[in-house]
Symmetry: C2
DNA sequence: GGTATAATTTAGACTAGTCTAAAAATTTGT
DNA sequence: ACAAATTTTTAGACTAGTCTAAATTATACC
């Protein structure tokens, strides 16, 4: 009970959580973590030993790591805080969706359960952050997003834009510049076999093209 | 330009700023800082050398320290953030005034000028925090509070309660329990020479007594 | 003015978190 | 199956921030 978890340790746990879901594998490797956090592999190994010591991860040398239940809960809580603060920044302070990630990276480490509970209520208990990512609830339960990237639905029809799988500032700004935001309806008029580009209409406006790169980075659901 | 100032360094600068104003002396001693931050004097000496190296303080061994202009600006900015976040916590999240200090101690280190500017606007550019302390403006200018503790006005009459000079949780809770909040009118009906206690009415309610300890910890202005 | 006391600094050590270089283990390819 | 390539760990070093104990400087008092 009540082991203190440092900011650095929180970031490692979050990285392990994210990577294990990114690659659909339960074991995460040392190099994956070192790439993700821009640290050297030797540094990661040191930290993995400390996290294992604290019972936050299962670690077998050379075999990779996975989170313990305690580690998972800690990671989820950091993600909950990150996403709630992003909602605050966009909804209450009128930041753009491409401006909030760096600030949320700092705010996610503020330690106060009461604060998060009240912030959640103040924001109207949102279910999704400004990028369409689901916000874990107070018990650590997370809606799994069943949406797929647009390019995996190789069919004409109407889709709803529900999130991004690429979070870079430049990509988010690009979506803004083509006038696409969460909740918009995308009508696929043609799928171009040659380069896998998509001819689409956004909310019944004029037609435009999505490159395969764009189509593979936006998550959509079939419109009901 | 653009020297990175760590969270720890920010706390030292804030401590030096606070202590120099608390004792009305420009030079702050090593022991004062070590008491204030609950660090050992040797630790403080180490840090003072680092802060001097970064041109944030003027430091002459054995003589005490004072802030440079750059150090003062940094300290003021941290105080501005602390007090703005306290306003946010009380006004927007409905925290009580005795619950916000610890959380603001964390939030004051979040580093984003844009965030503070937008938070300030969102809160309606408040001039005072929930404890009546003035909030420095974006240029680092601070209204000096000219209010005195009630016990220094040894006279009957009407006063306005504008702030506290004691910030402990128990004291703030005590004021709440006797029904006193910022802005209330305090009518002094008697000053008791024997123990320097005060017979007062708050907002024309029933009379009660303030001990000298209470009277010396609340800041009031003569009611206009 | 000289000594006792208090304040401050120095010296040396420790932890968390990082690095580079080298060693060891694992995986890959023939 | 074994050598080469890759991954991971170990060893040793560094910085920031902290400590204790000892040395030094300042101050207070007679
Ligand atoms: Mn983010
Ligand atoms: Mn997000
Ligand atoms: Mn405070
Ligand atoms: Mn305050």
């Amino acid at each position: 009970m009540c082991v203190i978890i440092s900011l650095t340790e929180e970031n490692y746990l979050k990285a392990i959580y994210t990577l294990s879901h990114l690659f659909e594998e339960s074991e995460v490797s040392t190099n994956q973590i070192s790439d993700h956090l821009n640290n050297k592999a030797a540094t990661v190994t040191d930290m993995l030993k400390r996290l294992a010591e604290k019972k936050l991860i299962h670690y077998i040398p050379y075999q990779g790591v996975k989170l313990t239940e305690k580690g998972r809960q800690t990671a989820i809580k950091v993600i909950r805080k990150h996403r709630l603060w992003e909602v605050f920044l966009v909804d209450k302070l009128q930041f753009k969706w491409d401006e909030v990630h760096e600030i949320a990276e700092q705010l996610e480490h503020i330690n106060s359960d009461e604060l998060i509970q009240r912030l959640d209520k103040f924001l109207g208990k949102p279910k999704f952050d400004p990028h369409g990512d689901p916000i874990p609830d107070a018990n650590g339960l997370l809606n799994i997003v069943k949406a797929l990237p647009l390019n995996q639905h190789k069919a004409k029809g109407n889709f709803t834009f529900v999130g991004v799988c690429e979070h870079s500032k430049t990509f988010l700004q690009h979506l803004t510049s083509i006038g696409l935001k969460i909740g918009d309806v995308i009508k696929v008029e043609e799928v171009n076999e040659f380069d896998n580009s998509f001819k689409v209409k956004i909310n019944k406006n004029n037609s435009q093209f999505f490159s395969n790169k764009v189509a593979s980075s936006i998550l959509v659901e079939v419109k009901k």
